[in-house]
Symmetry: C2
């Protein structure tokens, strides 16, 4: 069911009832971008670094679609049914909240283009999106309202200096005054007249003149919805009552702006199992947009997350864990559905609670948040079923969410692009050995070849570029790490190798002495700094090739022109960068190998950039 601001208020009670009745939920968010420039994730980030990069680099994108699939077990039919909602969101600033929340949001051009290809209706987002407000902003709006109310209730006449009416406004002011005069004399029933609707300067002038001349005649002035209104025979009690009524109405307006946040709050309050696929980024956005800004500290984030959502499950984490990691050729959501329909998996029948509120597996609405949430729920059911029938004797009568065999997946979050660790929300993150990983700095003209030459004594390597002069280098055979003593940098002036631990210590020292790093190059293209560097590098090789050659070290065999070209433009030999030699990655390669013909633009984006 599509939910926009047109039907949200009507549907809210139903949604709340569905949340009350469901056994578990799957959710999914869609955003206007994924990463800002200059904040790239590397395969050897720690979970805390990873969190900081998301917090600094992804939270300014717009959360524009939220999918909610609620699942409920049908005891009679012994199967799960679902009800799905696809919410369009837009944090529309309202008159009452504009000063609190006229936010700016970021869009990543390639993401917008990708979404446009999937026929996302942006008009529906911007025109019909349901508004939302996080808790601090809601509190600010309510505080402002409360203060204004107190102010109006307690107002006494100010003995402020009178502003002289400029000659060209005299006519306007006099007009207003004679309107009031007529109003006082009038015997008609009307108890108020509108004097002015806008322009604070003129309203101020009229306010001063009318107060001065007519307060003895029982005229009270009040501003409602920016209009200056004159009232007569206006008792103090009536005025107070009007003020209170007006502010109650405004409070309701703020509640309308809080809008979709109410759904998320109720989800959180349910304490039930909530499932997502590649869940971390959704959860960061959810906390940030609907609760409060993400904390600076990673551990604070973990406890905030656990306080709000006590039971979470990430199906992408499952995909990358035993036994699934060896059974799945991909962990991309859109590609998993056909996989779980085939042996060794068995997708149980999952029905609709109400046909207007459901999807089927053939709906083919990839990247619609509601559909993705539904598919995520199916993944969970299939995986849980597989574990239940294969590994335990937990019968079908135990609700899936209560199965002990799931415990080792609960509250653990996958880290996209990082393959050897994860976030353990309730405990310490796993202590992984990165003894085979090294932080290397080198001259900017170095390419894979030079690094591979340097590391020849320890065999094959995988290089993850950080920038033009530094990279993480992982040994393909971790047990070769002790042989690093044979890797000799003494011949180079400007090559350094640090162990992973040494590098981490340096970073920690750096972070504790410097202020929190701010993203650079916020809006310039991804590679602009790299390109600038490259350009300088091209120049230095051309104009001062001797110096460049010296800088590159004596062992470099050739310093031909072509070595000065960016590795990014190296087409005949595919890039070695960013390839992490993990089992799942290889699986995906095989999978792709089998279906190369299906490759199209959408696939490419999916594979490279999408977070699902």
């Amino acid at each position: 069911m599509e939910v926009t601001r047109e039907n949200f208020k009507t549907l809210l009670p139903t949604i709340k009832a569905d949340i009350d009745e469901a056994e578990f939920f799957a959710i999914d968010g869609e955003f206007t971008g994924l990463t800002i420039n200059g904040i790239a994730i590397t395969p050897f980030d720690t979970p805390a670094e990873y969190y900081k990069k998301l917090k600094d680099g992804a939270m300014d994108f717009l959360f524009f679609q939220f999918g909610l699939a609620a699942f409920k077990f049908d005891e009679a039919a012994k199967k799960y049914n679902h009800k799905a909602y696809n919410f369009y969101l837009f944090p529309r600033p309202d008159l009452r909240t504009k000063k609190v929340a006229d936010s700016r949001f970021l869009c990543q051009t390639s993401c917008i283009d990708f979404l446009a290809e999937y026929l996302l209706d942006f008009n529906k987002v911007f025109k019909q999106g349901i508004s939302y407000l996080n808790s601090p902003d809601e509190k600010k709006a309510l505080d402002l309202l409360e203060e204004r109310k107190e102010n109006m209730l307690n107002s006494e006449k100010e003995t402020e200096d009178e502003i002289t009416v400029p000659s060209d406004l005299e006519l306007c002011v006099e007009n207003a005054c004679s309107q009031v005069e007529d109003f006082i004399k009038s015997e008609a029933e009307e108890k108020e007249i509108i004097l002015l609707k806008n322009n604070s300067f003129l309203k101020k002038l009229v306010y001063q003149q009318v107060s001065k001349r007519f307060s003895e005649d029982g005229i009270e002035l009040i501003t409602i919805n920016k209009a200056l209104i004159a009232r007569k025979n206006y008792s103090k009690e009536q005025k107070e009552k009007d003020i209170l009524e007006k502010f109650e109405a405004e409070k309701k307006e703020i509640q309308d702006v809080v809008g979709f946040t109410l759904v998320i709050r109720q989800l959180a309050q349910s304490g039930k199992l909530i499932i997502g696929h590649n869940f971390l980024i959704d959860l960061c956005h959810i906390l940030n947009q609907f609760f409060s800004p993400l904390p600076e500290e990673y551990n604070e984030f973990k406890s905030m997350l656990h306080d709000i959502f006590p039971r979470l499950l990430d199906t992408k984490y499952m995909c990358h864990s035993e036994p699934f990691t060896n059974l799945l050729p991909t962990s991309t959501l859109a590609q998993l559905l056909p996989v779980i329909c085939k042996s060794p998996f068995k997708l149980p029948e999952v029905g609709c609670i109400d046909k207007d509120y459901g999807y089927s597996t053939s709906s083919n609405k990839n990247h619609e948040a509601g559909f993705d949430a539904y598919i995520t729920g199916l993944l969970f059911i299939t995986f849980a079923h597989y574990l239940g029938t294969k590994f335990t004797k937990e019968s079908d009568d135990v609700p899936l969410t209560k199965m002990n065999v799931l415990n080792r997946f609960i509250n653990r979050l996958h880290l996209m692009k990082v393959n050897d660790t994860y976030i353990d929300i309730c405990g310490n993150d796993p202590d992984v050995s990165r003894d085979h990983v090294f932080y290397v700095t080198f001259p900017s003209i170095w390419r894979f070849k030079q690094i591979a030459d340097l590391f020849r004594p320890v065999g094959n390597i995988v290089v993850s570029w950080i920038d033009e002069t530094s990279a993480w280098v992982a040994l393909s055979k971790p047990d070769m790490a002790p042989d690093m003593v044979y890797v000799d940098t003494s011949e180079y002036d400007d090559v350094t190798i640090l162990s992973y631990e040494q590098r981490r210590r340096t970073m920690r020292r750096y972070q504790s002495t410097s202020s929190s790093a701010t993203p650079q190059l916020l809006f310039s293209p991804d590679t602009s700094s790299a390109l600038k560097k490259r350009k300088r590098e091209v120049q230095s090789t051309a104009a001062c090739s001797n110096i460049a050659a010296t800088a590159a070290g004596r062992r470099r065999s050739r310093s031909s022109g072509r070595e000065s070209f960016s590795r990014r433009s190296f087409e005949t030999i595919p890039e070695e960068a960013e390839e992490v030699d993990s089992p799942i990655r290889k699986k995906r390669l095989i999978d792709d190998c089998e279906k190369t013909s299906k490759c199209d633009k959408k696939m490419e984006f999916d594979e490279n950039d999408a977070w699902d």
Copy 2:
């Protein structure tokens, strides 16, 4: 005529011809936002400060619609005709330029909401927008292409270390090799086969194995559009020819991405008069998006602007200059059309060159860039006509753009919200006296009243708040400035008054010693810092009212609770902030006074926020 990427290439020759034939142009841009938080313009900014604020605070919004109205004099009918285009723009990153230009852009929620109200079709923007690329990005893309071409033409076999094929990828690699084997033996006519379409790691493995095993058999490998292709009987000449062809095709693709930029370049090259309304922000965006990033220095900006567009005219500057400033009740574009249809103005008949490419005054498409450009052109024609008939003897035979009486308006840009100066593109900006303006700092609990009390010796004042503890204060009667000696701050510990010149000197010293200021609060709501301050202030007044009272100074007559409320929530007495007592402002007040009943949500936005 609506122009999207569907019809752009077809229309481009017509557009170019129209630019060649026109006498002058009016243009208009639409953006996804106006100001980022924390960078507010005050009425006493210098033109250089104003420029810096625009550069730092407005350039990250998306330029999504460009209106071009070309005007041409019909000698026979003695009237102007026009042809108008409304271009939808979106800087879509292409395969060839994605690495150069996958930009991020900012949206201001209230602006998006405003545009949605005006029924802007965002889908058309994102799906059908014509791409564009500024000159440095175009150069980068072409450089990258050139380097890749050279690289491919000069490629020799790399003697790179062979990567051991991981066991689980062996099958894939062997498959590819036997494909090549079959291909070599095959007697079919085909000269190439596609081996792999994606996944660089696998392509690298296959590349290595196939090169190793089959290079003796005349097999050449080439990557085209990311696909790894094997070719046989492939002569060096043929390979070179193919590479050159391929890169010519890619060059054309980049040209397509440059897209709309070609129109702007031709407009610039024409050297003809180009007219805009409230032109500065459009011009900043135009330079930034279609030429190159705005220079840091204000004077560099002026010369860059003049180099690119030698003849500019800002109709908003005309509105604020004699004789128009006294004849117009408003300078907001949407409100000017009815005004110029009435005496003392006379809107000459302006026809269409082609009915598919034109608007009429009744089109009522406010905020569509093409329509706004058309109206801007009508304004210019009407104003020029008024000047021509009223003040000079220049006959109808002189083309409007050649009239000497227009010279004093050429290359001068209005500064929105700043009323006493302007930008003189080709010369020094006017030297305005701000001897009656003072920079005042005060305790955060001060309101208008306390400041007015302080300035009582010099009469009425206008306060322009900078933040909670500082403001510009202008004397309503400038000639009272010498009496400032009677304004006595000695009674207060924490009140300072600087003359406008003193403050400017301090700022210049500050700027020359500190690095260039970066905007703060980029994505938090406008008033968040103010609100935080206010909150603290409320607490201090409540909890330590004595201290607060002392801080506020002995002369403050009352320290009642209500004084601690934010001036922003002060409703019964309209805000005094931000009112600048200029003639045009007052005129607009009268105008509004006459039509208060028309006030609606759109009007409010327009009056307060719109830059037209």
